[in-house]
Structure formats: C-alpha cells, structure tokens
C-alpha cells in the first residue's frame, strides 16, 4: 500500500519534460571521471576541459531542474524516478528532489565547475580532476537519493575522492588529515548502516510487506516502537553529527580543511558538511519524528555548544584556513538548532543556511586559497596589510566575510535570523546563548580580517598581486548569490517552505501531543486602521501583508497533509 502511495505521490511531469534529469545529473560527472581515466597522459591540457565540461553539463541540468521545479508542489518529490537495483534486498535506485534538496543540488552543481575553474591542480591533473568529478557525483547522489541504501552508498562514497584529494594534493600533514577524515566519518556512518538495515527489517516485519529501503514508505508508515526508533535515530544522528560536524565530534574538520587543497576545502565546506545537516532533516526528522522531538534538546544543546565553542576556538587559530574551518563548526551549529527548533521558521532558516553557508564559506575558502597561492603561507601572523596592494581581493573578502558574520542584506543574515527566531520560540534560553554566537562571529572574522588586510604591508605582503580576471569571474557568482539571497530570498523560501511545512506537519501528525512551537500569532489587526489614512495605504497594506502570505501558508499545509 505504501508503494502505491509512493507511486502516486511524486509529481510526474509530461513527457516533454526530461524525467531522467536527476539520474543523468549524477551520472554525468561519474562518466566524466571515467573518460578522464581513459584519456592518454600525453594530453594534460584537455583534463581540465573535460572536467569542466562534465561538471558544466551537470550545472546546466541543475539549473534546468530549478527552472522546471514546480514551486507550488515543492513538498512533493519531483523529477522522481525509480529503478530496481538489488531486487533481492529491496534496494532501488530512487531519486527525486523537493524543496529541501533542490537548492542543495543546484548549489552543488554550480560550485563544482567554479571550483574546477577557479583552482588548478598543483600537480597530476588527471587524477585530480577525476576525483573531483567522482566527488561531485557522490555529493549529488546523496542529495537526490530517496532510498536508504542508495543514500548511504553515496554518503559513504564521497569519502574516497575527498580522501585522495586531501592526501594527494593537500599540504602539511595531509596523510594524517586525510586518514583522520576518512576514519572519523566512516566510524560515524558505520552504525548508520546497521540502523538502516534494522529499520528496514523492523519496518518489514511490522508491516508484513517485503523488505524495502524506500524512504517515503518507511517514513510515512511509522511502524516502529518508540524506543527502537530512538535508538535508531541516535545511530543516524551520530553519522550526521560527525559529518556536520557537531561538537564534540568535530575535530576532523579543522585538520581536513587546513591540509586540503583549496578546491577540496571549498567542496568540503560548501557541500559535504551539508550532507550531515541535510541528513538530519531528511533522515532524522522525516524518519524518526518522535525521536527527533525527544532528542531535540540534546541536539540543540550540542548545536549551541558548537556555535559558541567553534567561534571561540576559531578566534584563537593562527592559521587562516583553520580559522575558517572552526567558523564552519559554529555556523553548522546554527543549522542544527534551526532544524531541531521543529518549527517552520527554524527549519526554513536551517535549510536556507545550508545553502548560505555553502556559498559564503565556499567563497571564503577560495579566497584563502588565493591568498595562499600568492603568499605561500596561511599563518595569519605572516600576513598583513594586504588591502593596500590588493584592494579588490580585500573588498571581495570583506563582502564574503560580512556575509559569514551574518550582516543583514547579505545571505547569512536571513538564515541566521530565521534559525534564531525559530529556536527562540522553541527553546528560548538556548537561542539567547546561540545569538551570542553572532557577536563572536564578528570577533574572530573581523580580527582575522584586520590581521590579514589591515595595517602596514611589509615585505612580500606589499607585493601581493590583486585579484586576476579569472579569479574575479569565479568570485562573481558567489558575490551575486550572497547579495541576491540577502536582499530577495523569497524565491528560495517559497520553494523551501512547503517542504519544510510538510516535514513539520509530518512530525505533528506522528508525535502525540507535539505542536509546532510557534509564535503567538494573532490576527493582524494591528494599526492598519490607523494606517488607513488613504485608500492607497489600505490597498498597500492588505495586498502585501498578511493576505498573500496566508495564501502561501495554506498551500504549504495542504502539501503537508498530502505527505503525511
């Protein structure tokens, strides 16, 4: 029965639409990697081109998906497809995007070509670009997977290319960092595999149907005993917590980031950390609503600790890249508390923040890479006064940094605001503490900026070349995204929110006594009457205010019912 629901649930588009888009999206980079592998070593000039071509095809497809995405039914899985994979074990290749994953897919597909263009392989270009493409395929696969095993497979496979990227093209203690990264994250997901299998079997024995790893079927049926579900949730949460990374399982991150090559850091920060947060939403809240509610205080606590702790640790770093890495710990804490605020504002903010952090921190790592390329050091103490010789670089850095600080008008703010708002309604005092993270973000980033860009430039610092054309072109899309998402996030929110509402409604439906912690919303009587000094004013207020917005919310609730 669940299968029947599933089959009818996703929105299928008319035949004119390209239904296999997501599958192709995932496979194109993988194919590109194979092509690279087969290419002769004698044509090194072509490697980058091939990699770029493959990732660009994916990017174009992703943008096409974004354009074709039906915002009205963002709570349903679109471009949905299912093939049998391992029939005997009930594993299938099942892909689809909804509002939660749409922007992550788009961001991933767009960042990869930028990272490929923006950063050259320092040596051995062929395997480098091949690993990059494998990584892209893995990341995209994770975001579109709707089968638990398929998800796990992609979730795990990304370790390999990243391991080789860090180990092969990294700096410093690269072998240590790569190994630590691999083992730590692998350890995290080790238990998840057990949990996935247990979930499928327990679901099967409870439903009487065959074993299936179909996410939607398992999530909608909700057949597990409370205690069991809680244990399984913990196993899932551990995997995601490591990937996120949440305090106290975050220490792989600084090492991995610091020693990774620039593109590796960019992808790691922008995309791979999101695998964890995305997993928490898609496979935490959706699969285990009750356990999510039960453990929300724990997760929020860890998130808040991460925010403060990460920020403080970031402030004390001597290595610029390490500093940015710790800032990720802090930022990801926001996403986690937003997620476990379990209300529309918080979760929407969390999803938004996933994209925002990807853009901002990705850009930040690119910039740090550029600095490293120029100065061959990331020691903050050896840098200084760069704004004089490289004003453009400094300006771009400033904007990206301010976005990371959460300046209103730039993208970081919107997400952070919603997250804190949601968290405040759910867990007031934690939100109060978390908000202090906003102060700390300013502390470490401004301090870093001062030490790197301000002050007199001496020695090699004075000779630092400014941003080059190609670098500028790579940074431009980031800046555009930063400003656009800050000024006009509505198109994004409109697509994210229905999916978020559906998840929240799912939690409400399945957890007895749980009600979305929301603000004390009252009918907007307000001073409209006072404002109604002219006919026009009245028109303005009503047209743009609550009326239209309520319509959108109602729509979201409908999808929620459909999903639950």
């Amino acid at each position: 029965m669940a299968a029947a629901v599933l089959a009818s649930e996703p929105v299928m588009y008319s035949s004119s639409s390209f239904v296999a888009a997501l599958t192709v999206l995932v496979l194109v980079p993988a194919a590109g990697a194979l092509v690279l592998l087969a290419m002769p070593r004698t044509r090194p000039d072509l490697f980058k081109l091939v990699a770029l071509a493959a990732s660009t095809v994916s990017a174009v497809l992703a943008v096409w998906v974004l354009a074709e995405f039906d915002a009205g039914s963002a709570a349903s899985f679109q471009f949905w497809q299912q093939y049998e994979w391992i029939t005997g074990w009930g594993v299938s290749w099942q892909v689809g995007v909804d509002g939660l994953s749409l922007f992550l897919v788009v961001m991933t597909a767009l960042i990869f070509p930028l990272a490929i263009v923006g950063v050259d392989a320092e040596h051995s270009p062929k395997p480098y670009y091949a690993w990059m493409l494998v990584l892209e395929a893995g990341c995209l696969g994770t975001f579109v997977a709707l089968d638990l095993i398929m998800f796990f497979v992609f979730f795990e496979i990304v370790l390999v290319p990243m391991y080789f990227l860090i180990g092969g093209w990294g700096h410093g203690r690269r072998a240590y960092a790569a190994t630590k990264f691999f083992l730590f994250t692998m350890f995290g997901s080790a238990l998840m595999l057990v949990a996935i299998v247990a979930l499928a079997f327990l679901h099967s024995s409870a439903s009487g149907a065959g074993v299936t790893f179909d996410l939607t079927a398992i999530a909608t049926n909700q057949l597990l005993a409370t205690n069991t579900a809680r244990w399984l949730f913990l196993a899932f949460a551990l995997a995601f917590a490591v990937k996120v990374p949440l305090f106290p399982v975050h220490t792989w991150l600084p090492d991995a980031h610091t020693n990774a090559p620039t593109a590796g850091s960019v992808i790691l920060a922008a995309v791979m950390l999101k695998l964890g947060t995305y997993g928490l939403v898609r496979f935490g809240l959706y699969l285990f609503p009750e356990a999510s509610v039960h453990f929300a205080p724990l997760m929020i606590t860890l998130g808040v600790i991460g925010i403060i702790y990460g920020a403080i640790a970031a402030a004390m770093q001597r290595d610029l890249k390490r500093l940015v890495a710790y800032s990720s710990v802090a930022h990801l804490g926001f996403i986690v508390i937003g997620t476990f605020a379990l209300n529309t504002e918080g979760l929407t903010g969390g999803v938004l923040q996933m994209v925002n952090h990807g853009v901002s921190t990705g850009a930040l790592f690119l910039l740090v890479g550029m600095i490293y390329e120029r100065r061959h050091t990331r020691e903050i103490s050896e840098l200084g006064g760069l704004q004089k010789p490289a004003p453009l670089l400094a300006a771009v850095f400033m904007v990206v940094m301010l976005s990371s600080v959460g300046l209103p008008g730039l993208n970081g703010f919107v997400g952070e605001l919603l997250v804190l708002l949601g968290a405040f309604n759910a867990h007031r005092w934690w939100a109060v503490v978390a908000a202090a993270g906003v102060i700390l973000a300013a502390v470490y980033l401004l301090w870093a900026y001062q030490r790197v860009f301000h002050g007199p430039a001496s020695g090699a610092n004075a000779e630092t070349p400014d941003l080059r054309w190609r670098e500028g072109l790579v940074m431009a899309p980031f800046l555009a995204a930063i400003v656009f998402m800050g000024v006009y996030p509505k198109p994004v929110i409109d697509r994210v929110e229905p999916a978020v509402d559906a998840i929240i409604a799912h939690v409400e439906d399945n957890v007895a006594g749980f009600a979305e912690p929301v603000a004390n919303v009252q009918p907007p009587v307000s001073l409209e009457d006072l404002a109604r000094s002219t006919g026009e004013a009245d028109h303005n207020g009503a047209g743009n205010g609550a009326g239209e917005h309520n319509g959108g919310y109602g729509g979201g609730a409908e999808h929620g019912e459909g999903d639950g």
Binding site: V153, L159, G168, L193
Partner: protein
C-alpha cells in the same frame, strides 16, 4: 576365490552420479595426470608454463561441470549419501575452483622468479582443491574430515614450498603443528557427536536432533565445542587464528592467496554444513559461542592489522578480520545468513587473490619484499597497479560501489535480521579500524613525500607485472567494481544456493 567371497557377501555399493562427482574428479585426475606427465616427460620437452596452463584448464573445466550441475534443479547425490552437491556445495566449489583459476595464471612467472617447483605446486593445488570440494559437499563427518585433511596437508606442504626461504618452512611447520593439534580436537569432536547421535552422517545428525529432545546433551555440546575449535582453526577465527598471520606471510604469496580464498571458503562451507545445517536445531546453544568468536576475530584481525608495517601481514590480519565478518553471517544461523556467507566468500576470494597477487608481483626474488616501504611511491611507478590495489583495499574496507560493501551489507543484514544488533555494530566498528590498516597501505603508495618518493622510484625499478598476473588483477578489480555496482547477479545466485 574373490568372486566367491563377493557372491557370498554382497556389498551394496552406493550409487554414483558421475557428473555430480566431476568437480572432485576433475581436479584430482588433473593432478594425477600432471604428476605422471611431469615424471615421465623430460622437462626440456614441456615448458614450465604448461603446468599453470593445465591447472587453469582443469579448474575451468571443473567450473564448467559446476555450471552444468547448477542447471539441474535438484540437489545432486554425487556419491551415495557421502557427497551431496547441493546449491551451497556447488557455490563454494565454484569459489574454490574460481580461486584456483585466478591464481594459476600468476604461477609461471612467480615460480620462475622465486624458485618454487611449479609442477608439484600445481599438483598440490589441484589436490587441495579436490579436498576443498569434498569438504563443501561432504554429507558425513568422516568425509568432511578426510576432505579437510586432504586440503590441509596439501596446504601445509604448499606453505613450506619456498624451500630456500626459512620463513616459508617455518610457516609450513607452524601451520602443520597447529593444524595437527586442531585436527585432534576436531576428531574428538566428531567422536563425541558420533557418540551423542550414533551417526556421523550430517543428515542423520540433523534428523536426530530435529526428532529427539536430548535429555542429556553434554556429549553433543562438548562435541560441538570441539568441532568449533577444529573448524574455527581452519577459517582462522580468533583465538585459533594465531597460525594465520605467520603462515600467510611465510608461505609463497600465490599459496597465501589460495589459503585466504579457497581454504577459507572450504572451511566456512564445513562450518555451515556442520553447524547451520546439522546442528541447526541447537543454534541457541552455539550462536553465542560463534558470537564471541566473531567478536574476537573481528577485533583481533582489525586491531592487529592496524599495527603492522608489512603489506602481506596487513592483508593476513585483514583476512582474519574478514573471517570475523563471515562468522557474523554464520552466527545468524539462517538461510539469509548462509546466503550472506556465500556472497562474502565469493567476493572476498576474488579480492584476496587480487590483493595478494599485487603483493606477489612486488615481492622480489625471494618473495620477501612485502614491507610497506616497497610500496612507497607505487602510484608514480605503476599507477595502474596502485589503482588496482587501492580499489581492492577499499573493497576490503567496505567502501560503496565495490563488492566489499555489498558483502558487508549482506552479512550485516543477516545479523540484523537475526536480531544480533551488537554483533553488527562490532563488525562495523572493526571495519573502521581495519580501514586504518588499508589506508596505511594507500598512504604508502600515494602520499609519501616527494623527496623519498623520487629516491625510491630511482632505486626501485618498475616491477614487472607479467601478463598472467596483470590479467588476474584486472579481472579481480573489474569483478570487484562490477559487483559493487550491480550486485544483483551474485545475490540471486547466493540466494538460490542458500535455498532462499
């Protein structure tokens, strides 16, 4: 006189299904033919490469016979009630013969380089394979024991076959002493089970236990314990694993490959025959014991692999840890557990042969250059070889899109289905520890600092791989990856074999 005696005492000879017997007959006959030809034909006439070619041909021919048997739906009573070629037996036979077929092509170059008697090695390999097949198909404890001995004694000799290397002799001696020791336990176990049930036929033991509830089961349980010791030794389950690392390292590398693949497969087949099938009704008694063995094996294998600095030894310990994984499937004591075990055996056999072949290629004149430092910078000297070994190692670590992941998944699934959650957890955690060991190999191949990389590259010439070994490695890697992407093919075979 003789005829009169026979007439007086008619002996009821059992029915023999000759086709069913082919998987045993072909290798043993092949071995004898080779032995005879080699003794009679002067070596000038017959180049050494023909030994391997012959072995390969015999293995392939036996495999064909297995395929033919597989086509028959019913289980084949190959030799009365002594040898039953059912699905599981056929599958394990295929794994054993497949391993032989994979190892054979690597032999000529190896034997020539290291100075190992290729003809005798081939003879022993084929005879060991025959013994292994007997183990897989044994329907009687005595037959099982004899098959095991045939295989084991051949293996003892093969381990010591690199006579010029003292380590090889040591490997043979250790394997032999401990093997004989554990054989004694196994025999005592057989005796006790025989005493408890009045028969050595596995079928009858199973029926007996199904039918009667034993009021006094001490003898049966003690017998089970002793059997577990003997068979646990063969599959290198901790704490009976101690021989494995030393023997694996000392033995000629292709032999090691066979020990990790064929010998292990036969051992597990025997374990399944005895415990899951014959003693299945007493699963509640032995499952906790296997649980403990599996945990110990996983822990010992992976933790000790992590501290080694010799590639061959790492692989040896990892082989122990894989045995632990397979025990997880045995512990499930279910059809899906058996299917998982079979799946894992097939997958691991290929991976093991592939990995050890890479080691063999690099191991130098004396077959002793197996330290991690010999792998240093392999990625620049032999990128394809390095990539191949990397894929095989990642498969051992259980990385997705390799057969290793699917294999691990299948045993985990079986364990979870049998509600052995903690065992599954232990297995997964130990996989992480083992991964560390594999990563050390990868680090050695890829991430050595450029300084000494150039140095070693200059000093170590590109190792010659050879056509046979190359083909084997490529085949192993392709199998590993292909199975990782589309495991359904093998999955359906194992399900059928396990009677699912």
């Amino acid at each position: 006189m003789m005829g009169a005696l026979l007439a007086q005492l008619p002996v009821q000879t059992p029915d023999v299904d000759w086709t069913g017997l082919l998987p045993v007959l072909l290798p043993s006959a092949g071995a004898l033919v080779l032995l005879m030809v080699r003794s009679l034909v002067p070596s000038r006439v017959m180049p050494a490469v023909l030994d391997a070619v012959w072995t390969f041909a015999v293995a392939v021919a036996s495999l064909v016979s297995v395929v033919v048997l597989w086509q028959r739906d019913a289980e084949v009573q190959a030799f009365g009630s002594q040898l039953v070629m059912d699905g599981m037996a056929l599958f394990v036979t295929a794994v054993v013969l497949g391993s032989v077929a994979l190892v054979a092509p690597t032999l000529p170059r190896y034997c020539k380089r290291v100075g190992v008697a290729s003809a005798e090695l081939c003879v022993l390999i084929l005879l060991a394979a025959a013994g292994a097949v007997v183990m897989a198909g044994a329907a009687d404890l005595i037959v099982l024991f004899l098959g095991l001995e045939t295989m084991s004694i051949a293996a003892y000799v093969m381990a010591a076959l690199n006579l010029r290397r003292l380590e090889s002799l040591e490997a043979g001696l250790k394997y032999f002493v401990l093997g004989a020791f554990s054989t004694a336990f196994l025999l005592f176990g057989i005796a006790l089970v025989y005493g408890a049930t009045g028969t050595t036929s596995l079928d009858e033991i199973g029926r007996h236990l199904d039918t009667f509830i034993l009021l006094r089961d001490g003898m049966l349980l003690a017998g089970s314990a002793m059997l577990l010791v003997g068979l646990g030794f063969k599959v290198a389950a901790a704490p009976f694993h101690a021989w494995a690392p030393d023997t694996y390292v000392g033995a000629p590398t292709p032999v090691t490959a066979l020990m990790a693949s064929a010998v292990k497969a036969a051992g597990f087949a025997a374990l399944i025959r005895v415990f899951v099938e014959a003693l299945g009704t007493r699963a509640d008694d032995w499952r906790p014991a296997v649980f403990a063995l599996a945990c110990a094996t996983l822990a010992v294998g992976s933790v000790l692999a992590a501290v080694q600095s010799d590639a061959k030894r790492i692989l040896a310990y990892s082989s122990v840890s894989h045995a632990g994984f397979i025990l997880v499937g045995v512990q499930a004591a279910s059809d899906s557990g058996v299917a998982a075990v079979l799946f894992y055996l097939a997958v691991y056999a290929v991976i093991a042969v592939g990995s050890f072949t890479v080691v063999a290629v690099l191991s130098g004149q004396r077959d002793d250059r197996t330290g991690l430092d010999t792998l240093a910078g392999l990625s620049s000297r032999r990128p394809a070889l390095a990539l191949g070994l990397t894929i095989l190692l990642l498969a051992q670590a259980g990385v997705p899109f390799t057969s290793g992941f699917v294999a691990k998944f299948s045993v985990i699934a079986a364990a979870v289905e049998a509600r052995s959650y903690w065992l599954a957890v232990v297995a997964m955690v130990s996989a992480v520890v083992a991964a560390f060991a594999y990563l050390r190999v990868v680090v050695a191949m890829y991430f050595r600092d450029s300084g000494d990389e150039a140095e070693t590259a200059a000093e170590a010439p590109k190792p010659a791989i050879g056509l046979g070994a190359g083909a084997v490695i490529v085949a192993a890697v392709l199998f590993t990856v292909a199975l990782g992407v589309v495991p359904g093919v093998l999955e359906s075979l194992t399900s059928t074999a396990a009677g699912l």
